[in-house]
Symmetry: C2
Subunit: 563 residues, 2 copies
Amino acid sequence: MSQLTHSEITALFLALGLLLASARVLGELARAMNLPAVLGEISAGILWGPTVFGTFFPQWSVYLFPVSGGGALAFDGLITLAITLFLLVAGMEIDLSTVWRQGKVALYVALLGMFFPFVFGFLVGWWMPGILGYQEGTHHLAFALFMATVLSISALPIIAKILMDLNIYRSDMGVTIIAAAVFNDLLGWLVFAMVLGMLGVGQMMPLGYTIAMTLVFVLVMIILMPPVLNHVLPWVQAHSSWPGGILGFALSFCLLAAAFTEWIGIHAIFGSFLAGVALGDSKHLNERTRTTIEQFVSFIFAPLFFASIGLRVNFVENFNLWLTLVVLVLAMSGKIVGSTLGARLGGLPARESLGIGFGMSAQGTMGIILGVLALQFELISQEVFVSLVVMALVTSLLSGPMMQKVLRLKKARRFVNFLPSQGFVLQLTSTDRWSAIHELSTLASPLVDKKAEEITRAVYAREKMMATGIGHGVAVPHARIPGLTEPLVMVGLSRAGIDFDAPDAALAKVVFLILSPEEDNGLQLEILADIAATFKVKEIKEKIIGVNSYVEFLAMVRTAHGS
Amino acid sequence: MSQLTHSEITALFLALGLLLASARVLGELARAMNLPAVLGEISAGILWGPTVFGTFFPQWSVYLFPVSGGGALAFDGLITLAITLFLLVAGMEIDLSTVWRQGKVALYVALLGMFFPFVFGFLVGWWMPGILGYQEGTHHLAFALFMATVLSISALPIIAKILMDLNIYRSDMGVTIIAAAVFNDLLGWLVFAMVLGMLGVGQMMPLGYTIAMTLVFVLVMIILMPPVLNHVLPWVQAHSSWPGGILGFALSFCLLAAAFTEWIGIHAIFGSFLAGVALGDSKHLNERTRTTIEQFVSFIFAPLFFASIGLRVNFVENFNLWLTLVVLVLAMSGKIVGSTLGARLGGLPARESLGIGFGMSAQGTMGIILGVLALQFELISQEVFVSLVVMALVTSLLSGPMMQKVLRLKKARRFVNFLPSQGFVLQLTSTDRWSAIHELSTLASPLVDKKAEEITRAVYAREKMMATGIGHGVAVPHARIPGLTEPLVMVGLSRAGIDFDAPDAALAKVVFLILSPEEDNGLQLEILADIAATFKVKEIKEKIIGVNSYVEFLAMVRTAHGS
């Protein structure tokens, strides 16, 4: 039995560990900079890939990320599994009723968003193949069709991740974009299957079969399966141990569906995506089970896959600026114009249509998968491949921020964002609310560069209008301070408790002091609402009282919403 | 870049899907037969392996479970990852303070439990190598040492799984067994590294280094790391999104530790196990995060690994009865006698010592990993390898049931085990408690073959002593019925509610009727306690009232404890 060698296993685990750690760290950095996390994750791969790490430490690079041999194959298998499982999760999040409601718009977006770049790509590939890197001697029609396909196919996994990162995945617009991307990519794969047929390679069954089976499979998964699963899932849960039974069922269902779509000649990810759609639609899939799958896949497998994109190629060596620019302009202009137009025709307002256009503009992940095959069959050169990968990265980089800008999305502002470590008081010395306010105000004074008296006076004035004990042992004295540019949140703990005249008469053990700029009224309310929501969970107060440091306090608050 | 072909990916996903589904199904069957689930999981592999499926459908078998090529390597990589992650989970469950408390006993068990089979194996391998399948021309001393090692090494993953299946993993005895097994297996790997050194193969560094690094690594992980992680984990949680940050951290930590132990010449699983011990010891590892990792790994990765054991070899073709018996007797007798003796010397009572002896007797998983290497270097023959695998299976099969017998472990009896589909009444027609009892008794009558009047009279008598409304909308009228051999549980739902004089005055919407045999008093209490515990969770009552069938009722109840 072929097995990985001792040294291959060592390298594989080391590579996975380093890749995961750096993908998560850069993903967090991207979030902190208000960008989709996926950008950080792809960047981690570029750093570890041939472009940077491989250039400076070629031997180490070959050891950690081998391009051939057992280690490379095992890595490829894992990454393929990772992307397949990620699409299962993406599918589980889809609400079919929204798809039916948004179906018409999605169809317009998919068709026009595919048509424009396809035509652009085909015309250039056919009339001016040279500027797309055509090599004499290869099948000309196949080349033109291939370029048309890679320029018009979208990047389902990236699009899903960006929409999740922006928190609009389950919105009407998110579903429209995803439905359009699925339809777009299914069409793209069917055209690609045709191209492979022209080259006389790769294909496992006649094209007509592939198309027919795809159609049947999609219909079975979105129409027949949901009601069937609504009966099967309770049966599985009733007759097996929990949660082993249902987890095993969901995952095997996904793997078998993935095997099926891979077999009929489109990619495995379509199978797992549609399996996810069918499973996720059932109200009998327990919330707990969903969460387990989603968390493990989204935070372990997905970062590994996205990082692996950056590993594939040296972005400096095979870089051809002119070629890349042509590819990029053709792909983006065609996709954005086509998709926006489609959304307008579907009846959406201009701003939203443009948002959809940018949402659809993340391209290339699928193109890279196609490109790898095209490279193997020598239909395209290394340079064309690099231009496709760069196009994938640039479009993925732009898509999220452009959507944020066009749709004016704001990141939810949490109170902890305005709570510095000096703003944390482990034990208040005061025992009544007036002196507690004074104590916190005095400590806040140097942080906002205002006199302690001025702060105290403002907060007292507010407190006298109405006491700020909000119950559950929390009090939130606050005031607007003229001249502040940013809000400041202070927090003091009191084991004995301080009477803030709360409606439930409970003593306040956690006292916040919230100082906000005079202008931004919305922000103060947002912070107050966030504190109230955080402390609605009963257990958190007892835990908060037990913390020993600012870091532990932050950790408690950040994990509160999910625990 | 080496990549899996289209056909290899199809086969890989198909194989994983089938293997996972059948492992889970047979695992559930084993549980239903009161056996550890792992036996079912291994059996699934034997069915899909060369022994059964491969014999009848050789071409399909080669396609699904290739023994060489890219698919085999990718499968091997995944399985290695699976077992490594399972050991992370096993490590996370370990409570270090129990290890320190049980350390002395564990050391005795490990040393004696290793010494006896090692000496048996070495003596037979040295003086009568023929009966252990020695082939002329191979290194005699290396052969004897190898046989001594495989006969004395235990099966850490299987032992952990059996203890979890029996629900005694976190007990003092469970921890003693696991600590002894870890120590035992670490020693075994060090001896094996020595054997490889004799053959002049496989080793990456001098033996002295391996031993020294192992010692340092163990000490770092169990002494230095826990306090360090107690500071690092809150920091990670405070400065990253939740739960992505902490999940990513835990998994990368595990992968890097696994890479390290693989690199120093012992197996990757020791690294991930000890990483799990260090992580699990921190009170800052959120319960929710633990659960996500544990569920995904225990119910997806672990079954895949255990099933893969059965895939490795044709158990019929290379089977040598005599050789297998010798191997089995030497391994089991030595291990059981030695471990039991060790536990006695450590001061444990006889029954518990014997339990530990049987607990340690699951052998061979590690032996199989060693055997694969020994086979590669032609130190042993196919027949010896098969005898080792059979020994692994037989000891794994016997260990759990023998422990259950010796320790008199009983499976927790849940009320649903005694609730047949005919015992479920979707809507009671009665509106007061006496007629509700009569209604359920009448329906119960044919199921227990007793007159309805007799049942009603007995339950009325009990009900008159004290009303059985236990609050939260649940009532549990019950009685012992002479002549019953098994308990019977009936349940009737009432949307309007029936007054059962509950302490909280709430009307009963879920009415159980519990009939138990006259003798077994404990059983009735167990069932009552189980019902009370199940309905303590507030949300479940509302959900129960909404069910439409027996199957949905079962599904709700079974998933209640974890949701």
